[in-house]
């Protein structure tokens, strides 16, 4: 399991100089690439990449972090296309798991969730890591209780 390192600090685009882009986008994205390569080298046949929904929803003052989340999610698809001998999938969680205010992703995220209660993604991740998911690859599963659709 690879959890993408998303910085929760809101950063308007006007503050995204080269140093900020390197910190919020470049370095963590390189870590994702390296982690996938390492998982491949280690012979992992089930790889799950965990990202926040802001990659798909976008987030005001989170352009660099959203870019990171979405890039990691789509890299999963590329990996799945090349690595036909293993399963590679993305699990997408509420951005509050990273300390990001869910309201940044707009009115959709402040609508009532489809399901109430605490969201527990571990059973989903366990299933994706098991034999039952052998034919599931390149997929994205959003596990946030129906907050973002």
């Amino acid at each position: 399991m690879i959890v993408v390192d998303v910085d929760p600090t809101p950063t308007p685009v006007g503050e995204l100089d080269d140093a900020a882009i390197d910190r919020l986008w470049e370095q963590p994205m390189r870590s994702v690439i390296s982690a996938l390569q390492e998982a491949h080298r280690d012979g992992r046949d089930r790889i799950v990449v965990v990202v926040p929904t802001i990659g798909q929803s976008g987030g005001a003052s989170y352009a660099a972090q959203a870019a990171l989340a979405e890039a990691a999610r789509v890299l999963v698809k590329s990996a799945a296309r090349q690595w036909s001998d293993r399963s590679v999938n993305a699990v997408v969680l509420d951005p509050s798991e990273w300390g990001v205010d869910p309201a940044v992703s707009g009115p959709v995220s402040i609508a009532p969730r489809a399901r109430s209660g605490v969201v527990d993604p571990l059973p989903l991740i366990e299933w994706l890591s098991g034999d039952g998911a052998a034919d599931v690859t390149g997929q994205t599963v959003v596990c946030d209780g129906g907050q973002w659709m």
């Binding site: 390189r30 987030g59 789509v74």
Partner: protein, 261 residues
């Protein structure tokens, strides 16, 4: 005045406009009356495009711009506003990279750096440097526009160039985020994901004629897009008042080849 007056007197910067999709977009915007800055890495490619537009009655200049260098983008924006007094439409199309590779063997410096710099970094730099001028455009009564040229691979992944996809996916997330951030400023931000007859694709067809047939066969419209008439026209829509209520979107302009968005 242009026969199509939709962008009369507006000022547009198009990066990577010395050839391919960028050139097509620049020609279409100029045909609709815009003053177009051909922001090309090399004047040897950008200047002939600007000259050709001027010869057709349009208004265009070439400003050498390397989008891998933030200061070069800043110089381009500064020179544009100094010469023309405004910037209404920023189109970031330039891209460098795309060497086929295996993901497990990819080397950051060889297979990632230039794609990250020219896609994600440059999109954010164009946004940051363009923001004050695009906001001023809106205050002037003309909606500021940022248009990012991405790729269908940024949605569906790539088996051939796996690191190309995340670089392009990043641009879609940037567009969505800025659409939210800039909505109160009246600036719209959208992406185009084209498949078009760029020089790179034409070269690939020359090397592998079967590739052209394969792409046409999987495309419902049965052909590869034209850089000006097909892709440039979508850019014109997004640059004009016709798209005032469209923001945060990706228009996949590929003849229906990819239908999974």
């Amino acid at each position: 005045m242009s026969a199509d007056p939709r962008l009369n007197d507006r000022v547009a910067v198009v990066t990577g406009a010395g050839q391919g999709v960028g050139e097509g977009i620049a020609r279409r915007l100029a045909a609709a009356g815009a003053v177009v800055v051909i922001a090309a890495r090399r004047a040897v490619t950008g200047e002939p495009v600007a000259e050709s537009i001027r010869a057709s009655g349009g208004r265009a200049v070439c400003i050498e711009t390397d989008v891998a260098d933030t200061s070069s983008i800043a110089d381009c924006v500064g020179e544009t506003t100094k010469r023309f007094g405004r910037l209404d439409v920023m189109v970031h199309n330039a891209f460098n990279g795309g060497i086929p590779h295996r993901l497990e063997d990819a080397v950051i410096d060889k297979h990632w750096n230039s794609m990250s710099r020219t896609a994600a970094w440059a999109s954010l730099a164009c946004a940051r440097l363009g923001e004050p001028h695009l906001a001023e455009s809106t205050r002037r009564g003309v909606g500021g526009r940022l248009i990012l040229v991405t790729s269908p691979s940024g949605v569906e992944g790539s088996a051939n160039i796996p690191l190309y996809s995340p670089a392009k996916a990043a641009q879609r997330a940037i567009a969505k985020s800025l659409a939210r951030e800039w909505g109160p400023l009246g600036i719209t931000v959208n992406c185009i994901a084209p498949v078009a007859g760029s020089p790179a694709l034409m070269t690939a067809f020359d090397r592998n004629p079967a590739l052209k047939s394969a792409i046409e066969a999987r495309t419902p419209l049965g052909r590869v897009g034209d850089i000006t008439d097909d892709i440039g026209s979508v850019a014109l829509f997004l640059a004009s008042d016709d798209s005032s209520y469209v923001t945060g979107q990706t228009i996949v302009c590929d003849g229906g080849s990819f239908l999974g968005l």
